[in-house]
């Protein structure tokens, strides 16, 4: 919900956002046009303490009382961390006879073909806590074998004996017909009323048993801790005098209520990165940019996300807790609505080394915040991306992090020489050029793959860069991607939390119903959508506080015989038989956009339907008129080595807070601020916009060939 149109000053609504990350808890308070931010260390043993402290601190700074806050939005890595650290509830899984090991069998593949020594992720529920009962449905949901109710009840003593804290139930084809799951749940609930239950047919009602069961078990695994935490937070806030409702950020980029979050806590994973994408989408909207690539580079990872028409692309699933160094296939699959993004192990702390082939490799190992890069002088000995940036002259060693962390150039050079220069016969400067080129190329490749998977092009997009590393690497990344425009907004250090304040309240309902388009049972689909709309309305209407609501409907479709679906928008009304032709046309257009040509003579099938209801965020005010531009000069220069040409030259240095709207900076130059630096290579110019953002533009002749 966004209230940009609200009056500024005393009468504007006060909104608070809190983002709990692994290291820091970020708090942002907005009141009209004014924004306050603070960062404090996360308190993992009782995260609500950090949240309450941070909120108290920021209210103090703003001179406000808790009762004056109109809305609190919250995102947390708690769910993600519980899975990564295996600190969730003692969970049992009840499934169909003959399928005890779906979680352990996975897809029976190795995520790395050439490593004989790989480890596979352990299921969240060990085999002795995976129970089976006789029952079986066929692919259409018809009963092949009735549920053995006595067998369900017979599990109760074992569940008690094993001190089970949470139970997941998932049956084969249960997404088509949930009757057996519901009956088994009712029997267990009657015997063990205290233990929370997660049903696959509710948590993730889609085909593919491994993904569905994995998601359901993960939901059960994090449920008790999240529910306890949210109740403690709620109590603490009441005690502190807050009256506003708390909304939770979900992985899909929409907000939900505490009640829904307690039922489907798995949807809270990756809320921080989702907030970053929403932040970029909001900036895109305010700036009137239709095609954007969001680029968020932090200390350990970089996240890249496509934003079209002010909306981040969405996906239906991802992997959590990858054990194989960011490798696809080495994590636990989750089938939930998520913001589609690629996250790769490339951040300021990513370490560089030379492999057995003599190839320079950067990441995904990271020096993290402790000991951190070699130049932090805290015991780190391996060279990192930050060390390479320092060697190239991109940071002022005395002014890094607002001067709180003086950097040690000699330590950076020494580390670069030891791990890279000596191995490859390069100077430390050339080693640094190599490290930066390799990491920039890795991010560019990730962005390219991401664009392909979305069936879209990168050319002509604007890169929105934030996070500590985003503005430093943005222009070079843009060059590699054929992008000519980069926007560096303000508030980039707490982008995720600001994004929370820009998110809509929403709910996505999903159902699988497998049918051919040509013989689509229109009545069945309409009945399905009616049920989904009811489900979404129940969550969204009470939380929307009267805001206007939008509904969208989608179907995932493919040619009969293919394995991957394409989402096609459907009209938001009951379908009629005549709609089939239009749906077919839309599908074939979407297919050709991805893969050049439609396939002749193939029938089309529909697998699943999605329905989203969400609040409409108010239109932002029209952007302030663009100021007249005037070129500004700086008296300060620094020796900087260009990453693309490897040549050293004097670059002008500007302090960001000293620049004002209408100032134009011509590259090569650096615009420095406390949290980051914006780099402008030769051929780039930077204009300070009316909002105080930096809009970087590349002259058309620039690029790789420079």
């Amino acid at each position: 919900m966004r209230e940009r149109m609200a009056p500024s000053g005393e009468n504007a609504k006060v909104r608070l956002a809190v983002d709990i990350g692994g290291t820091f808890t970020d708090v942002v308070l907005e009141r009209g046009d004014r924004r306050y931010t603070t960062k404090l260390l996360t308190t993992p043993e009782a995260p609500e303490r950090g949240v309450l402290d941070g909120m108290a601190r920021i209210l103090d700074a703003a001179g406000l009382a808790p009762a004056q806050v109109a809305l609190v939005v919250h995102g947390t890595t708690l769910a993600t961390n519980a899975i990564i650290e295996r600190k969730g509830a003692r969970t049992a899984f009840i499934t169909t006879d003959g399928f005890r090991d779906v979680l352990a069998l996975r897809n029976e593949s190795r995520y790395d073909q050439y490593n004989l020594d790989i480890e596979l992720p352990e299921p969240l529920v060990a085999r002795h806590l995976r129970f089976t009962v006789a029952e079986r449905l066929d692919r259409a949901g018809r009963v092949l074998r009735p549920l053995d109710e006595a067998a369900v009840l017979a599990l109760v003593p074992a569940l008690t004996r094993e001190n089970i804290e949470s139970i997941a139930i998932g049956f084969l084809h249960g997404f088509v017909n949930p009757a057996h799951e519901r009956r088994a749940a009712a029997l267990i609930a009657a015997a063990l009323p205290e233990i929370p239950l997660s049903l696959a047919s509710e948590v993730s009602p889609e085909m593919r048993e491994w993904e569905r069961f994995s998601t359901t078990v993960a939901n059960a695994y994090v449920q008790p801790a999240i529910a306890r935490y949210l109740r403690r937070l709620q109590a603490g806030m009441q005690e502190a005098g807050f009256a506003a409702p708390i909304h939770l950020m979900q992985s899909g980029g929409r907000l939900t209520t505490i009640e829904t979050a307690c039922r489907f806590p798995i949807r809270l994973v990756e809320s921080g990165p989702a907030g970053g994408a929403i932040f970029a989408a909001a900036i895109a909207r305010e700036a009137g940019l239709d095609r954007v690539l969001s680029f968020d580079m932090g200390g350990t990872t970089a996240k890249v996300c496509l934003v079209d028409h002010h909306r981040a692309h969405e996906a239906r699933g991802f992997e959590v807790a990858r054990i194989g160094r960011f490798r696809k296939g080495s994590g636990l699959p989750l089938r939930i609505p998520v913001i589609e993004m690629v996250e790769i192990g490339a951040g300021g702390g990513s370490e560089a080394r030379v492999d057995t082939l003599g190839r320079l490799v950067v990441g995904p190992e990271s020096a993290g915040a402790d000991p951190g890069p070699a130049c932090y002088g805290r015991g780190g000995t391996r060279p990192t991306v930050t060390d390479a940036n320092l060697e190239l002259g991109r940071y002022d060693p005395a002014l890094f992090a607002g001067g709180r962390l003086p950097l040690d150039m000699d330590a950076a050079r020494g580390a670069l020489m030891r791990a890279v220069g000596d191995e490859l016969g390069l100077s430390s400067a050339m080693a640094a050029v190599g490290v930066i080129e390799i990491v920039d190329e890795a991010m560019a490749n990730a962005a390219r793959v991401h664009a392909i998977e979305a069936g879209t092009a990168l050319e002509g997009r604007t890169l929105i860069a934030f996070g500590g590393g985003g503005p430093v690497h943005a222009t070079r990344l843009a060059e590699k991607l054929g992008i000519d425009q980069v926007l560096v907004p303000s508030g980039a250090g707490v982008g995720s939390a600001i994004g929370f304040l820009r998110a809509a309240i929403g709910y996505e309902a999903v159902r699988s119903l497998y049918q051919r388009l040509a013989t689509l049972d229109i009545a069945a689909v309409n009945a399905l959508f009616a049920e989904m709309a009811r489900e979404a309305r129940e969550v969204v209407t009470p939380a929307s506080l009267g805001a206007a609501i939008r509904e969208t409907r989608m179907a995932s479709m493919r040619y009969v015989g293919q394995g991957h679906e394409i989402s096609v928008a459907l009209p938001v009304r009951d379908l009629a038989p005549e709609d089939r032709a239009a749906i077919k046309r839309d599908y074939e257009a979407a297919y050709a956009r991805f893969y050049n040509r439609p396939v002749p003579g193939s029938e089309i099938e529909i697998l699943s339907y999605f329905l989203v209801r969400e609040t409409l965020t108010p239109e932002p005010p029209p952007p302030p008129p663009a100021p007249a531009m005037r070129e500004v000069a700086s008296t300060e220069t620094r020796r900087v080595r260009d990453g693309a040409t490897a040549r050293e030259a004097d670059w002008a240095v500007f302090a960001r807070q000293a620049l004002s709207p209408g100032d134009r900076v011509i590259g090569p130059a650096i615009i420095a601020e406390a949290e980051t630096s914006t780099l402008l290579g030769a051929g780039w110019r930077g204009d300070i916009t009316a909002q105080g953002w930096i809009m970087l533009t590349r002259a058309s002749q620039g690029g790789e060939g420079r």
Binding site: D101, L120, D138, T645
Partner: protein, 578 residues
Amino acid sequence: MSAGKGLAAIRHQVMWNRLIAVVEEQAQVMIRTAFSTTVREAGDLSAGVFDLEGRMLAQAVTGTPGHVNAMSESVGHFLKKFPAHTMREGDHFITNDPWLGTGHLHDLTVVTPVFHRRRMVGLLANTAHVIDIGGLGMGPEGRSVFEEGLYIPILRCFEAGRPNATFFEFLRAGSRLPVELEGDVYSLCACNDTAARRLGEMLDEFGIESLAPLANFIFENSLRATEAAIAEIPAGIYRASIRSDGYDEPVTLAAAMAVGERDITVDFAGTSPVAGRGINVPAAYCRAYASFGIKVVVAPEVPNNWASLQPFGMKIPEGCILDARHPAPVSVRHVIGQLLPDLMMGCLHQAVPERVAAEGSSCLWNPPLRGGAGVSSRREGNRLPPDFEIITFNSGGTGARHRRDGLDATAFPSGVRTMPVEASENVAPIVIWRKELRPDSGGAGRTRGGLGQIMEIAAEDDREFACNAIFDRIQHPPRGREGGHEGASGYVGLTSGAPLRAKGFQIIPEGDRLLLKLPGGGGMGPPDERDPEAVARDVRDGVVGAEAAYQVYRVAIGADGAVDDIATRALRANNQKE
């Protein structure tokens, strides 16, 4: 080193990374557009980029070794028939010739020239396993390749962007699944088109006209790295052999591996002769899996390309089962071929024991299932039962590693995935009643072999159906190393009790089910050296019986499930004396 030269090296490396990204994208597009479940769900495919001489520069990480290394030989055959100067923009070439492609008619290979500013700069190739190519269908029963399906010589399937209508008409006519097959060919061409576009963008971006300097950089570095890796292996001649159940009699595969200073040569003398049925292996497929087996131990980090495969030489005696010539039947060459990495590791174990795993289940247990008119003429009232043709990919356990247990029910050496049961049941009228781990199947050892799995499959409504069995490791289970025990043998039969043959077309009668027990991996090291806590965990999880824990692992477990330390020490001390 001067800044200029340093920069050039960095640029070459960046371009190498880009090439690998380009071919990975090629593979991903294939997975997303393919029709055959074997490609889109199982990932039985490969993709790569080649220079004008037909030498592979880079290969997608996604894919399966039997394809990859065989495909790398294949492009040369295309160029022999259609020299580069005869190729035009928009052409796509195709074959499924087992001797010019990847070893059986079910694998289609598509090769596409890449043009940049009207000059040909390289080629793209890919391979995919399609579900049906006519003939007898996937299985061992053929007595010559002519019975095994439609044979596609190297020809143009697209000419200057236009489909070759005659070819597509023959193709559709020759298959039980014409729509899927045609769709798959479109998919293979589409993924090469995508990669060609990316390659052009790369040439533009880096301002280069030719891939040749980059090829030299890749080949020099890869060869040097592979040779350096070989130099770390103690030189010598290492011999091993392994046995397959064969079709009607066991097959011996024998190898003498000569590790030299800079190369490794394997001589397969002593290997059984060509068989009468389709388990025979064309030489390219033998070289593919044998070099994979060596490379994964010796130089796993070197990316696959022409040069990184050069130091591995193979001498395959004429007439042996690993050099089957046309027109020998070769449909299920993988049951023999996938044993080759175990054979290579049997040799390498003598040189670098700690890098090598015990033998595993290795051969995929993929039951090709067929129902309907192709199996029985039984009518249901006036209606014939539905026709279907499906293959699901399933794996037993892999061999124990030195530091870790083998992987449960995981494909090795093949790089494929299984399909969800729910997806299989939506593709064909079958019911998979059971698919779960097989207790007590992992070979005992200090580290344990991976577990196999048990499957029970019926046709919908308990109809009659058929399985064209291609299973192995039933008479010859995976062996352990260094005192580790064998993994459990495979088993194939009817749920009602009767066993079935390991190979060949067999009927599962109405009301009965196909029962598969997949082999477990071999163990590594003596079982009584296994960490007692690991044994207790296995017992708790029901994957090792209490009996085996006591008798084989010599671990005493109390009523509470915890290890009885004192009793265990006593048991193990006794064991040492015996």
